[in-house]
Amino acid sequence: MTQFLQHLVNGLSLGTIYALIALGYTMVYGVLKLINFAHGDVYMVGAYSGFYLANALGVEKEPTLVKAGIVFVGSMAICGALGYVIERFAYRPLRHRARLTALITAIGVSFLLEYGFQLPSWPGLPIPFPPGPTPRFFPTPFARVEWNVLGVSLSNYDVISLLVAVAFMVALQLIVYRTRFGTAMRAVSFDPQVAGLMGIPVNRIISGTFVLGSMLAAVAALLVAGSRPRIDPLMGLMPGLKAFVAAVFGGIGNVPGAMVGGLALGLAEEYVAGYTVSSYRDAIAFAMLILVLLVKPEGLFGRSRAEKV
């Protein structure tokens, strides 16, 4: 029983990672219908921004709440700017083209960030940038507290991450359904051309969505790196892919779906690895996804739109 509960805690903690990344994925997809393959790499950049900021502030020696705040806000700003740049220069010129075209530039941007960060550091910079391929230690932004409840170990990071993920989910849902920006987002998602004719600044809305999604990736990265303090340039590759799977699983474009999909994927992986053959962990996660999609092709919460003839 203890083992079962421990797996539950672990699974939720892992699922929270996927959910946090998947929220950003699903936001962008919902508006643009574009699989932003570079999202996992924006997540990586978020982790490195936090790394440089935290080292500059000396977080490792004396962590304070103010410093943690600066690290979070700074990384979000950097990732938001990066998201804006990526959208402006790699996706916007292709917006009216076939969707696969933008997918290829997304792969290109993803390679660019991954391999760019793997380059050896330029001499003469005050910080070691690019960081190179060697994994780095991420300084803990705030102290880790471990609790032991009925033999089940649990940390403040797990709880805070889950709460943050839920808070973001609610906040996004509110933004999408209760604000003017959200209304505009939904309009753009429904039909960008008509939305433009109605006076909605389509470019600004899409940029805003990208910035928002990228800032979410930064928060996810800091929460994950805070409790699993190893960062490297390829750290976004697999979690990014898994988060994409989670977003599809929940019905891509649907905010609560991304949350549920992420948690479900985390729990599934956890129980598969814990109770059966751990080497089949990824295979079974994918197999489960395929089964769900075969039964419900739009994902758990996706709406199937009627086909227009």
Partner: protein, 399 residues
């Protein structure tokens, strides 16, 4: 078309770069149309050493470390007058950590650049793709850290041109099994291995075999994938079997996280591992969690031997960081190859290969290396214990 102008300029720049490279390739073509062997046997120019390494991709950290070790060794040899009065030069080609790319890179080095010796690769699968090429074109190849026994073998036959300066999996797996069973007196051990890495799979297999043969029990055998952020599922399952120790033959990045997460789950057992642990990053990322763990390695940084201390110092001066195990092995691979070139009667592949096979008691950084009849390095292993963020010598295990 307003926006496309800067892109067109960029494309032109890229194309220009491409053309430049093309000229280089054509030059190579002309050179390669001459007879392929003997390569660089005579002449007075620089002696070229080819290195195949993963400078990009998910194994880039290993490839870049190895390359630094190789370059340090060559710089030192050049400062000491080179080989047979000629200076050495390293040419490194990237393979993205992929087997098929390793084969292409090795072929290019051997037939286009006509290198005298070939160094590489870290991962055994990549070395396995290079080995037939070394044999076919009769260019001696020294692998710094491919531990799979099959690398120097072609079926039952030993490949004449392929050598290595590291342990093989059976030796290192056995060393740790013996240490766990006989020195630590453990009965129940669990294994956690990286399913995607032939290095990890090989070590785990030989460890299990030997540990069982010595009367121990393997209570659990779990696996993970390198780069995963979370290992708690496997660790919780292992914890439930309450082993006395966990054998984790993997690379330091993953090990550090595994150690942390094991401690977070309240596991106090020591972890044990192999030479993939050897990096300062293990202590930096793992922190207190890796204290009390054991791993087998080629050498100890603490060893007062001057050649080891001078290597550690020079490496730190040149690259601003402490060398990891792969850098040391790259350094030794280049050193052994250079020594063989010096000892060979000429610089033909056949002569160097004979000199390599005759390597005996070469004082390398990673131990005193003797090449045996299977072209493997025979050298003692040391077992190190992690205490307060550093690895301390515990025991030497002779082969």
């Amino acid at each position: 078309m307003r926006t496309s102008t800067p892109f067109a300029v960029l494309a032109l720049a890229l194309a220009a770069l491409g053309c430049q490279k093309k000229q280089g390739a054509e030059g190579g073509e002309a050179a390669a149309s001459a007879a392929l062997t003997p390569n660089a046997g005579s002449g007075t120019g620089k002696i070229l050493i080819g290195h195949v390494a993963s400078l990009t991709g998910d194994k880039a950290t290993f490839g870049q470390s190895t390359d630094r070790g190789v370059r340090l060794a060559v710089t030192e040899a050049n400062a000491a007058g080179g080989v047979k009065g000629r200076q050495l030069e390293v040419k490194t080609l990237d393979n993205q950590g992929k087997a098929e790319e390793s084969a292409i890179a090795a072929t290019r080095l051997v037939s286009q650049d006509r290198v005298t010796v070939l160094l590489g690769e870290v991962a055994s699968t990549n070395s396995l793709a290079m080995a037939p090429i070394a044999d076919r074109y009769q260019v001696p190849m020294v692998s710094p850290s491919s531990t799979n026994p099959k690398v120097t073998k072609d079926g039952a036959r030993t490949r004449p041109y392929v050598f290595r300066v590291c342990f093989i999996d059976p030796f290192q797996g056995t060393v740790m099994a013996k240490f766990a069973r006989e020195t630590l007196k453990l009965d129940k051990v669990a294994v956690l291995r990286d399913v995607g890495s032939d290095y990890s799979m090989g070590l785990a297999d030989y460890f299990i075999e030997k540990f069982k043969a010595l009367g121990g029990t393997i209570v659990d055998d779990q696996s993970f994938k390198a780069g995963d952020p979370d290992f708690k599922a496997q660790l919780t399952a292992i914890k439930n079997r309450s082993p006395q120790a966990v054998y984790v033959p993997a690379y330091y990045g993953d090990v550090a996280l595994i150690a942390r997460q094991a401690r977070e789950l309240g596991m106090k057992q020591p972890l044990m591992g192999g030479d993939g642990w050897d990096s300062a990053k293990l202590f930096e990322i793992g922190g207190k969690a890796v204290d009390g763990c054991y791993f087998s390695n080629h050498y100890s940084h603490e060893d007062p031997e001057p050649r080891i201390q001078s290597f550690v110092k020079k490496y730190a001066q040149t690259y601003g960081e402490v060398p990891d195990g792969l850098a040391a092995q790259g350094y030794d691979a280049a050193k052994v190859a250079i020594a063989a070139m010096k000892a060979a009667k000429d610089l033909s592949g056949a002569a160097i290969k004979d000199a390599l096979a005759a390597t005996k008691d070469y004082p390398g950084v990673t131990g005193v290396i003797t090449i045996d009849s299977d072209h493997n390095a025979v050298k003692p292993a040391v077992v190190l214990e992690v205490k307060n963020g550093a690895a301390h010598f515990v025991a030497t295990v002779k082969p």
